[in-house]
């Protein structure tokens, strides 16, 4: 009963490598924020770094890299719906004549 095909056991080295990478990325994002990049670029870099960190956590800490593809699809699906919710709401809020409809 001890077949564990499906239960990937990560090595300590793998986990620590990912952990250190996450720390480095954290320092990087704080540093980049402190040097004050011009307007859309600061948001773009911050979000790119955040997405990279998120990918590392999801793939290696949460084990999605070795897990059944369906679980990854669940995560991606959730993000897709979140993006739909935000973008369609923005279709309203960004295109209003005046921001809050006055009474």
């Amino acid at each position: 009963m001890s077949e564990h095909h499906g239960h990937h056991v990560a090595s300590a080295k793998q986990l620590w490598t990912v952990g250190i990478a996450l720390l480095i990325l954290t320092f990087l994002t704080v540093f980049l924020a402190s040097i004050g990049l011009p307007s859309p670029l600061d948001l773009v870099t911050a979000m790119t770094i955040a997405l990279t960190k998120a990918f590392l956590v999801a793939a290696f800490f949460m084990g999605l890299y070795w897990d059944t593809k369906f679980n990854s699809m669940l995560l991606i699906g959730a993000l897709a719906f979140f993006i739909l919710m935000v973008s369609i709401t923005l279709l309203d809020t960004l295109y209003r004549d005046d921001i809050v409809p006055s009474f």
Binding site: H7, G19, T26, A50, V57, L74, F82
Partner: protein
């Protein structure tokens, strides 16, 4: 395959065929729950995006009141706790009872550090009158800097996002204390560590949310 296997270990519930089906089902169930959590926080992120798109200068101004250093420390703390909870799962998979217990304890400790830092952050702000909603009452020097008419909205969003996240941290601590107590009693081994695995997934999500909260709230310059 659909037949009961030769042994039906104690930890396998009667409606499952074997241990593996139970484990995979638990994992799937937890991932579905995480989808649900993502959409829950998603509403808050949506409110953030809508208001930031409308009042970008407010966000730049208000973020000055947030302490980037302690926010970064909290990020490091949570990443550390994600690492230790992953190590805890690894210990369980390798039948290392002691390793499991120690890693769980460190995770709990780091989570508590996060909450303590959060507490001091909140206390500092409330002291300056930067409070949510009807308690908004900034001191004169703050009001001089934070002169945007919608400043209370930013902090409403800030308190809601970090507050709901903080509640999830507290729940996580509770879950991990429960896990620790069970680990001490020897409930977990390489054959059965499902609760550790799925609690770990939950905890990683808490970390994930913070990974996005941190730059969005603290790193706006």
């Amino acid at each position: 395959m659909a037949n009961h296997s030769a042994t039906h270990p104690k930890h396998v519930q009667h409606h499952f065929v074997d241990s593996n089906q139970q484990f995979e089902s638990a994992k799937l169930g937890m991932w579905v729950f995480l989808v649900n959590e993502i959409l829950f926080f998603g509403g808050l992120f949506c409110a953030y995006i809508v208001f930031r798109a409308w009042y970008p200068e407010l966000f730049t101004q208000a973020a000055l009141e947030l302490n980037t250093f302690w926010g970064a420390v909290n990020t490091v703390v949570l990443i550390g706790s994600s690492l230790t909870v992953a190590m805890a799962i690894r210990s369980a998979q390798n039948n290392q009872k002691r390793g499991l217990e120690i890693n769980l304890l460190i995770t709990i400790f780091l989570a508590c550090v996060f909450l303590v830092i959060k507490y001091f952050e909140y206390e500092h702000k409330l002291h300056l009158g930067i409070a949510p909603g009807s308690f908004w009452n900034p001191t004169e020097e703050i009001a001089a800097v934070l002169d945007h008419p919608k400043a209370n909205i930013f902090f409403g969003i800030y308190y809601m996002m970090t507050g709901v996240h903080g509640l999830h941290v507290i729940v996580g601590i509770g879950l991990m204390v429960w896990l620790y107590l069970r680990a001490r009693k020897g409930h977990f081994n390489s054959e059965y560590y499902t609760p550790v695995e799925i609690t770990g997934l939950y905890w990683h999500l808490v970390d994930l949310i913070w990974i996005f909260l941190f730059p969005l709230l603290y790193l706006i310059e």
